[in-house]
């Protein structure tokens, strides 16, 4: 065995997941899994996972890197505040989502006492305060700074609002832990979230890892680098763009259905392929959306609600009352793993539906407006119609994988011509469930990380051959 190995850890909400990789071969050499025990003592789950890995490998190698992500204890829970819903409120949301956060509250315009009470109850890990373009409105962001200063909130604040108001905000917020960054929207129509994202990540490393008790297990890892969704996004970016020397796969879409939420990441320009007039905020090239109502377990009932019980029953070849009964069983046993053919059929129907809705919400739309010069096409959001690669990650697609059904769920449907989903994509599967680990390695060993990505994230046809 080569001496260069890395241990990639995910302190998840249900499991503590380990992936051991050989950096020279760029291959997975073993996996380990334990329960998530962050709420009691993180070390219990970590030691269980390490024992599992040791049993699989025979003997644990010396690891050159031991890097971790975390989505445990509710993930990185953030509240964002802005001025106008479509402008700085949206820019602040994009910044938080791009940093891998879980948005627990979004507030528009001036905070009321009731809003502040709600934020205190939410007890977020970080508050992102935006509002006003540079040189624009100062009144609202300063009002909100005052309201936060008077609250009992002790979460760190990231100020990413009107630059001109920053000095006053600093005075108002003395006593609070505040990080000042560039404005998430310095001018109308310009989205500049990098600086805020960087600040969020630094706070995550410096404070949140400790606050969640993950540092109790610190002798078992070197660093917790970022929230898990940020690592998945970083893995997706490397897979798409390459490392500068070796090319990546090009523009792609990643779908990550979990128990509670479904994440979609696009690494693609999103500009119109047909010359449509683009309206609304410019879209980030690397974009993450999170659907809080679409998931395989905690949110199973809301997937059925979103799609209607009949279509789900039809896909799963069950009766509507069977669907209701299945949802009740899942609610009682949130970690239920499908075994019987009907359980698997139901999960496939849930999975396809969650992915279809999540991709439709992530992708942009076109509409035709009639002008005096004739019809014109207006685009909102990203045009993903030309994307040739869609990647499925997460336990459900890997284990339930039905290539044609997954592809059907992700691609454009003739019945919905206004949705700009991929028209003719190929499906790749993250068969080692290691995209988060690729994102972790991207920061320290980009070449090995990219080679690992190319070995682990493979066209679905090849996965099926391996399975046979």
């Amino acid at each position: 065995m080569s001496s260069r190995a890395a241990l990639l850890i995910d302190f998840g909400s249900t499991y503590t997941k380990l992936r051991a990789v050989d950096l020279d071969d760029a291959r997975l050499i073993g996996t380990g899994q334990g329960p998530s025990t962050v709420l009691t003592d993180v070390r219990i789950g970590m030691h269980a996972a390490l024992s599992d890995l040791e049993a699989n490998l025979g003997k644990l190698p010396r690891f050159r890197y031991r890097l971790a992500t975390s989505s445990a204890a509710g993930g990185l829970r953030m509240v964002t505040i802005g001025l106008v819903r479509e402008l700085t409120v949206e820019a602040a949301r994009q910044a938080a989502l791009g940093a891998g956060a879980k948005l627990v509250g979004t507030f528009v315009n001036k905070l009321t006492r009731g809003d502040v009470g709600a934020i205190e109850t939410l007890a977020p890990d970080i508050v992102l305060l935006a509002g006003g373009t540079d040189g624009g409105n100062t009144e609202v962001v300063l009002h909100n700074a005052k309201m936060l200063a008077q609250s009992t909130l002790d979460a760190p604040i990231v100020y990413a609002g009107n630059r001109v108001a920053a000095d006053d905000a600093r005075e108002i917020l003395t006593g609070q832990s505040v990080t000042f960054t560039s404005n998430v929207m310095p001018e109308i129509g310009i989205l500049a979230t990098d600086s805020a994202r960087e600040a969020i990540r630094n706070i995550f490393i410096a404070r949140i890892v400790h606050a969640k008790g993950i540092d109790l297990a610190q002798e078992t890892f070197d660093d917790v680098m970022m929230p898990t969704p940020a690592a998945v996004m970083e893995g997706a970016r490397l897979l798409a763009d390459g490392d500068g020397r070796v090319a990546g796969l090009g523009e792609l879409l990643v779908v990550d259905p979990g128990g509670a939420t479904t994440d979609v990441h696009s690494i693609a320009s999103g500009d119109s392929k047909t010359g449509a007039i683009q309206k609304g905020l410019p879209e980030p090239r690397i974009k993450r959306t999170v659907e809080g109502d679409l998931g395989m377990r905690h949110s199973a009932a809301s997937v059925v609600e979103a799609a209607g019980i009949e279509p789900i029953a039809g896909q799963a070849q069950m009766t509507p009352s069977d669907v209701t009964a299945m949802l009740e069983r899942i609610a009682k046993n949130i970690e239920m793993i499908p075994h019987t053919p009907s359980e698997r059929a139901f999960d496939r129907a849930l999975l396809g539906t969650a992915i279809e809705i999540a991709v439709r919400r992530h992708a942009g739309t076109i509409e035709t407006v009639y002008t005096t010069l004739g019809p014109a096409t207006v685009q909102h959001g990203k045009d993903l119609s030309g994307i040739e690669i869609v990647v499925a990650t997460g336990g459900a697609p890997i284990h339930l994988g039905d290539r044609d059904a997954l592809l059907d769920a992700m691609r454009a449907a003739p019945s919905d011509p206004h949705s700009l989903r991929p028209r003719a994509p190929r499906l790749y599967v993250d068969r080692d469930y290691i995209l988060f680990g690729i994102g972790l390695l991207a920061g320290v060993e980009p070449q090995a990380a990219l080679a690992l990505a190319r070995n682990s994230v493979t066209p679905a046809e090849r996965v099926e051959e391996v399975a046979k």
Binding site: E187, V369, A376
Partner: protein, 143 residues
């Protein structure tokens, strides 16, 4: 420079794609020292207001060239008031109505809708710059 320190929002309202005149106007306003937030063609009323709120704009200049301006501009002042921009200066200009209607009547209609000034086709950019300077000066005196 009359415009230094002031922000203006410009755009073509509604389903109107005629961008050229609006772009020339925006350039002239920038030359006069204003910070111009140019929203371009096909801009719904709510977008003008959203941009004015975020930027604390001093005035909104609405263009309409395709004859539907009257429909598109209805309720514009009310939208401003709803967004807390009670006193913002709003101008409108272009081919505001269809058919041959006396300008005085058209102007009266748009002023009644709450616009501070309405401009007929063929207005020179210099005139708009002069009017803005005059209106801002008289507001400063009052304020």
């Amino acid at each position: 420079m009359p415009g230094v320190g002031r922000t203006l929002v410009t755009g073509v309202i509604g389903s109107d794609t005629h961008i050229v005149g609006n772009r020339i106007l925006s350039m002239a306003l920038e030359e006069a020292g204003y910070k111009v937030v140019a929203l371009g063609a096909l801009t719904p009323p709510a977008e003008f207001i959203a941009a004015a709120v975020e930027t604390s704009a001093d005035a909104i200049l609405v263009s309409s060239l395709y004859g539907q301006g009257e429909l598109d501009c209805r309720g514009f002042r009310e939208l401003c008031i709803e967004a807390g921009l009670d006193d913002i200066l709003i101008y409108v200009g272009g081919n505001l109505v269809v058919g041959k209607q006396p300008w005085e009547e058209v102007e009266k209609r748009f002023l009644a809708m709450g616009f501070d000034r309405a401009f007929p086709p063929g207005t020179r950019t210099d005139d708009v710059v002069a009017m803005l300077a005059e209106d801002f000066a008289s507001r400063e005196k009052v304020g």
